[in-house]
Amino acid sequence: MHHAPVDDRRSDRAGRDRPAVTVLHRPDPGTRRLLREITAGMEEEGVPYRVEEAADGGDGARELALAAAQASTLDVGIGVDAAGYICVHHAKLPPDAPAAAGPPSSARTMGHNAARLVVGIPFKQQEGPSHA
């Protein structure tokens, strides 16, 4: 009967059916640092996540985010395009109305807000210049 809370750091390695926000990004080496910030935002909020590389193609952050949201068991996805532009989407939102979007400098905040979309608390505001 007792359920252990999810250990966030294991999420990447975990199976598909475990609840997690999905992050879908272009296979660009420059996004590494960004992904670290995005996932840090989610980890701080205590929401599990899974990071996946998008197959080749010309999709932008929004399309990636939507696909990620649809793949997510929590209905929330993040897309990161080759330029590092970030989009947060929800599977139940109209495709052209994502929940949030921002430049690379907003990576941490985007992670927090994807998590907050799951938790259902108000979004965090982007503070001054970013960490990224």
Binding site: H2, H3, A4, P5, V6, P19, G46, V47, V119, G120
Partner: protein
Amino acid sequence: MTLVAGVDIGNSTTEACVTDVGEDGKVTYLSGALGRTSGVKGTTENVSGVVEIVRLALARAGRDPAELQTVLVNEATPVISGLAMETITETIITESTMIGHNPDTPGGVGLGVGTTVAFPELPGCAAGSAVICVVGPGVDFEDAAAGINGATARGVRVAGVVVHADDATLIANRLGEPVPVVDEVTLVDRVPLGMQAAVEVAEQGRTIRTLSNPYGIATVFELDPEQTRMIAPVARALVGNRSAVVVRTPAGDITDRRIPAGTLTLIGEKSKRSVEMDAGAEEIMETLQRVRPLADATGEPGTHVGGMLARVRDTMSELTAMPVDTVRIQDVLAVDTFVPQRITGGLAGEFALENAVALAAMVRTSRGPMELLAARLRTALDAEVLIGGVEADMALLGALTTPGTDRPVTILDLGGGSTDAAVSTEGAEVHSVHLAGAGDLVTNLIDSELGLKNLELAEEIKRFPLAKAESFFHVRMEDGTVRFFDRPLPADAFARVVVLTDAGMHPIPTRHGVERIREVRRSAKRRVFVVNALRALEQVVPGGNIRRTGFVVVLGGSALDFEIPDMIAEAVAEFGIVSGTGNVRGSEGPRNAVATGLVVNYASARAAGAATGG
């Protein structure tokens, strides 16, 4: 060095500590243990429990039971509590005047007025007449809607519908002109036909406005002032509902009757006063204050309160083997409560929260067969067994091992059956009281106010926070935070309010939301412990002036609660005293005070002996 165990036999819990005491009185604490008290405190039934707990403590200290030299036992005067609860109001509907249940899914919105007519009679209704259609069991929603639409087409004004099945939205959605529909009326057959009636359904998230207002009903039925006066209680009973039906019957009425619960007589040492039970807790407690100290309490025979007190006395006499007529009630705590109860005469299983009074009574019995208990323990443990000092003195000594405390110190021992308090002034004079009502009463209030009929679950609700399973993989805690789980939650937890116990997540099988359960839990704790803490302090501190209390140390099982200590801190905050949960020996929290005090007492006597002897 002597291996000494201190043992506190409480009403609920037996606690022990194992220590090494030097010749000079220096005490080295080795370990502690606790467990349920076996049998009634102060009787030989306690032996098995004590032996088990002392052995456990010895094992934890890594010491051989054979080494044990001395066992100190508290002077265990049983303080036993009884508990009874009586409803003092009753709601009765006569002549099917109204339907005031709150179905989950009524249909339509608005107010409709007309003459009640059974669904099969609808075809016979004259064009132009205004009717309220009463749909009995077995009628399909499409047939019902078709029948009503047909009547409307003929010019009959079907102004509202009352249905047996859970079909209100289904019917309303299929009507040409939507009208209010109230459903799940179990006894729909008893709705009087051929009478004027009004059906009202409020918008989602709102409550009705017309039928909950006497002048609204007067407008609808064109009542004169005298008739309005008569119908006013119906309006009052409907306040807060989302839907309702009012039928105008010749002698229909709804009464909120006070049940004559009887008179409680409080016999003080100097004076004696009576108070009606249905006056409520506040008045009872004020009366008690005027006759204090209490010598006994009696209830008018043949009344509810008579029965309540008789039950308490019987339990006491059974537990202690005292003759019933020698049982003296030395304190009572009355608490206002309510009990969800089915309204007599309701047509749809209406419930009302009826008022009730819970009465906890406390009896201090004569000192039990302590010598015999000591002798048995001697045999069982093969050690010297000494009966220690007065329990309150020992508890104070133990409490003073809490870092940061000093005399004058006041202890508040929040137990299961009673709330005890003692004060030790700088002159070391000790004054103590035992008050009725503590943790068990809180559990009982939670059980009855939520209608659980499950004391074990009520105890869990008392002790652990709530959450709501929001998906199969996460819960929202009562503070609004969210917690994720790896595996899906148990199916019976989903969409339920659950209590997050040590042993897992237990669903609470009621319709109450998290907020409601939380409020009942917190208010029960307040009604018992805040009231008793203030009562106890007031009685025990010099001159009743709480500001002069010194250090207040809160002890006992209920001091382990996750919110009671905060409530008491807030309640005494205005007196500007230092009050907090005890931390016996800097490590035991609010536990082990008496056991520790016994050893402290023994050691200082020994040191004094050594000093004079040497």
